[in-house]
Amino acid sequence: MDHLDRAPIGDMSSTLVSLIQANDKIRFIYRHSTDKGEFLLDTDELAAQLEDVPLSEPAVLNWIGEYIKENLEDIQGGII
């Protein structure tokens, strides 16, 4: 982040939630690795837990947003 050519990535949690909301049948795999650790989100894993409940269900989307935010803060924190 200190480098001139490395612009901030932005709000990944909201971005991914928007993508999943509109495309709940598409499998998204998001891998975010830093020196502190790695975070992997695979929507197929979430769908397996939910069975019939679609990923676009509001309660699920809320959960996904917070899940991503928490995990990214753990491995990176601050502005990503």
């Binding site: 909201s14 928007s18 909301q21 509109a22 894993e45 979430l46 837990q49 939910l50 069975e51 019939d52 409940v53 269900e57 509001p58 309660a59 699920v60 989307l61 959960w63 917070e66 899940y67 928490e70 995990n71």
Partner: protein, 122 residues
């Protein structure tokens, strides 16, 4: 810490609710929010979230589908929300999260278009 087990809890709660999807209903309403870069820059994400939550809380999930679309071509009017019903389309412009509550109440529930929020021609 969020855990996958919480998803199980959400699933269990959903089993009690009847979740009908709107595919066959001719009277189904489609709410389309413009989510291209013009839309997002103008603040369409809170509008989309307000619709998703509002429709859910109003219990209209089986009658109203909320979806996203790309650039509609009226970027100066973003955030734009289109409401499709029975082959007709109402276009709301300069939407905000606060206005969403009014649209849900008057249009989606009450069936009356909120004229003040639509595009004015001429």
């Amino acid at each position: 810490m969020k855990s996958l087990a919480e998803l199980q809890a959400i699933k269990a709660k959903m089993q009690n609710k009847v979740n009908l999807r709107t595919s066959d209903d001719v009277n189904a309403v489609r709410v389309v929010v413009g989510m291209a870069t013009c839309g997002i820059a103008a603040g369409a994400r809170p509008v989309l979230n307000a619709f998703v939550e509002g429709v859910n809380e109003a219990g209209l999930n089986d009658k109203v589908a909320v979806s996203q679309t790309g650039c509609i071509g009226l970027c100066q009017y973003e955030p734009i929300v289109e409401v499709h019903q029975n082959g007709e389309k109402v276009t709301y412009v300069h939407m905000t999260a606060e206005k969403v509550a009014t649209v849900i109440e008057k249009h989606l529930k009450g069936g009356k278009v909120v004229a003040e929020f639509t595009a004015q021609n001429g």
